[in-house]
Subunit: 120 residues, 2 copies
DNA sequence: TTTATAGTTAACCAACTAGTTTATTAACCA
DNA sequence: TGGTTAATAAACTAGTTGGTTAACTATAAA
């Protein structure tokens, strides 16, 4: 799978997004991250979610004694954001071209071009 | 599943992202959208991908004779973008708090505090 | 009325996901 | 040394995903 797909896939789970949100307040170890979820799922399940985030490059773990401290990594998020931004740009551009086209066919010297009112 | 998860999940496939990119140039029917992929996958596979995009609200299909014309829908993309933006905001905020904290402990009256150079 | 075109549905399959429980590793504490 | 804490690994399972082929529906065109 390509990396961007892996990132979007990692983001497509509310538990994992909540973990990222938690980490946006600063580093945390696995136990701290797990706490809000241990009523709903086991610790190994948490470990797995963290592995998914790690595989996507969204977090990195560092060992400190028996603790694993996790911290955020911005690049993959930027990657996802860039895709969306680029996409919006393409889209706007195509709207712009449409506008130009409409102006062209609607207002040439003595136009009688029919409207088609597509946009929204 | 919550809606945001459905959106991220829909975006986590290169075929589907390519289809969205195609649609950013304007409406297209299923056959047109399928064309670039028919060497790699069958038409029913394309139909399924479009169903995923439709379920996420990213596209809407309209019937015109035997053709199904697809067009983009911006709200879900905005939803995804908003999550990322909000997340970045939280994160920056926590960096700001960290900066404040560091200033506080490092620069009281006559400081000689050492740099920490974390923030890239 | 038959035939071609556009697309969906159904049934199936292999691989993956998200969870489980049990067992294991590793470091600290008494 | 033995027990506790933090976390991972292994083995299993139910459900989902992404693909297939074959059959079907609906409209257009001859």
């Amino acid at each position: 799978m390509d990396h961007l797909s892996i990132v979007f896939s990692a983001l497509s789970d509310p538990t994992r997004r909540a973990m990222l949100a938690h980490l946006s307040n600063g580093e945390a170890n696995v136990g701290d991250l797990a706490k809000p979820f241990l009523k709903h799922m086991s610790l190994p399940a948490v470990t797995k979610h963290l592995k998914v985030l790690e595989a996507a490059g969204l977090i990195t773990k560092t060992a400190d004694a028996q603790f694993r401290s996790c911290r955020l990594n911005s690049e993959p998020l930027k990657e996802a954001n860039d895709w969306i931004e680029d996409f919006k740009a393409m889209w706007e551009e195509s709207f712009d071209r449409l506008d130009e086209y409409l102006k062209e066919i609607q207002a040439p010297k003595k136009s009688k071009g029919k409207k088609h009112g597509k946009r929204k």
